[in-house]
Symmetry: C2
Subunit: 338 residues, 2 copies
């Protein structure tokens, strides 16, 4: 297990009504907070990602350089490290874990940043996929606190098509009766493997597979090897209820679903004052650039900066596509220098 | 049950080695075969489709006018009407149904057309999706017999990405232990419903859902209603093994996988002498136009005629998108007049 810190949230009331009495926010930091406390980057996790699945974007000489910046990776609720179905005691355990919104996640992260570290200014919030959703949410909730947001391969609101794609993922997992409505006695491995196979078609583009990058670039010995070793392997290493908890957060993700914006999505976007590069990938099958265009058009300081890549959703992470990582890192440097 | 005819294939040996002793080809005809026997249109079925799911393209005043043409709809093996897991007696029943190729399907159809009707010339072979695959296969196997082919929203070979998408469909179905490796005692309804939900994201485009055409155009009362009433309903009305049999045929679909072309895909495409309109939909998520472009570039008499539509795979059928049906019907008329 990776080393990580825990910020104790105490009795944390979620937006949908439940309260966890000993809610935990797990996080990891890189670098040192300077005296002015103005070198902070917040870099939230993504669907099914642990904190260590974020490290690829951090390094000496990269934009996210720990010699310069104090980088905080907060783990999303439900990812198995922060409070999650798999680590919460009865009665809110397993299939009874509360529905958690993206607002809940960012509010908790805000408490970590302010209460634990006394930080008042954040230089940048950057994130992939559901991490992008959190970056948008930071921008809409705390526009005066954040200088820059870089949501890449994600959206500020789950689109209807994206919702449907996730229904397929959920249905594949819960078709396995071993899941037992969340109170399984053994892992629902058929369902977890099925999630991997369903996801495999969505995560990467038609062109990625056409060009056989699974073998030519990633080195898998066959497509079946890619499906088993990468996709099934990834989801078998996750807890089924944790996956479902994060999936709910994703499906109901909407930065305007809170007491500030009351569901007025355009108003929430318009409130994002931080400078923003919104970075979709041209071939992302569930976060298509068309949705990002709508977002950018409604944000005051945003620019659309697409990945021109065949890596689909994986243009943005997790460090798999070398060229795309370079492109992203360059854009982050550009923003941080500006 | 729809009325249909049965052509008895006798002992039919499939390409992969199995022989069904009483193989059946179910079919339906519209119109009358003229004396010259030169007014024949063959219109094969699609994945999970029954013959009646093809009727929408046939009608007085349409290109496929039964007053002019003798239209034959052969049911694909595995669709539950021709020989299929669900209607074949032991020992080749259920989970032991043989693997059937697209070559097997078209060879059987050729026997129907020649032996039953004495037809030597076919004016047109037209089909949607796996029906398109059969149209391509007709063109490659019997180029001197067929005048025109119109494969729409389909391909001559299952792409790697398409294969992966289908792995997700299969995994969702077989995650349901009730399926019991094909020897179920009751329907695996969880798995069948999951197939519907997985398919829902693939069948229609991101833009279709963005524009809410499921409710605005198709009249479903909510997206969940669309998922249950349309998608789950469609697959619950199919036999699980039948779906898996057709899925195998699709995944291993390749018009060059036979003794004529020995896997030389370009050679098989080059052999398609019939005039062809290859009609992908611009937003089809599993038959993207890029694959059709490769096909057309290798065919001697083909033209790419895409549907500029947000209906994704459903631009091509089954009659759901009124504008796209008009466009298709116009193109068929153009070809038949030429």
């Amino acid at each position: 297990m990776e080393d990580y810190e825990i910020f104790d949230l105490g009795a944390f009331s979620f937006q949908r009504g439940a309260t966890l009495r000993n809610a935990k926010l797990a996080y990891k930091t890189f670098g040192k907070l300077n005296a002015a406390k103005d070198n902070v980057i917040v870099y939230p996790t993504w669907y099914s990602g642990f904190q260590q699945d974020n490290y690829w974007l951090i390094g000496k000489g990269m934009a996210l350089d720990p010699d310069k910046y104090f980088i905080i990776i907060p783990n999303m609720f439900g990812n198995g490290m922060s409070s999650s179905p798999s680590n919460t005691p009865e009665p809110y355990n397993a299939g009874r874990f509360p529905n958690v919104t993206i607002y809940d996640n960012v509010r908790a992260q805000h408490r970590l940043v302010t209460e634990k570290f006394g930080i008042e200014k954040i230089r940048m919030v950057v994130g992939w996929s559901m991490g992008a959703l959190q970056a948008f949410q930071w921008g809409a909730l705390y526009p005066d606190m954040v200088d820059i947001i870089v949501p890449f391969c994600g959206s500020a609101k789950c689109s209807r098509h994206n919702f449907v794609f996730l229904e397929g993922v959920k249905a594949a997992l819960t078709a396995d009766a071993v899941w037992a409505e969340g109170f399984y006695k053994e892992r629902p491995t058929r369902g977890l493997r099925a999630v991997g196979r369903v996801y495999a078609g969505w995560g990467l583009s038609q062109a990625f597979y056409r060009q056989q990058l699974d073998s030519k670039d990633l080195g898998y010995s066959s497509m079946e090897d890619f499906l088993v070793a990468f996709w099934e392997g990834h989801f078998l290493a996750r807890d089924a209820n944790d996956l479902l908890a994060m999936l709910w957060t994703w499906q109901y993700g909407d930065i305007s679903d809170n007491e500030l914006y009351h569901g007025d999505f355009k108003k929430a976007l318009a409130a994002i004052k931080p400078k923003a590069y919104v970075m979709p990938c041209r071939t992302d099958l569930y976060f298509p650039p068309e949705d990002s265009e709508v977002e950018v058009a409604n944000m005051p300081n945003a620019r659309l900066v697409p990945f021109e890549s065949v890596w689909g959703h994986f243009a943005g992470g997790p460090g798999t596509s070398v060229e795309d990582v370079k492109f992203l890192d360059g854009k982050l440097k550009e923003l941080l220098a500006g």
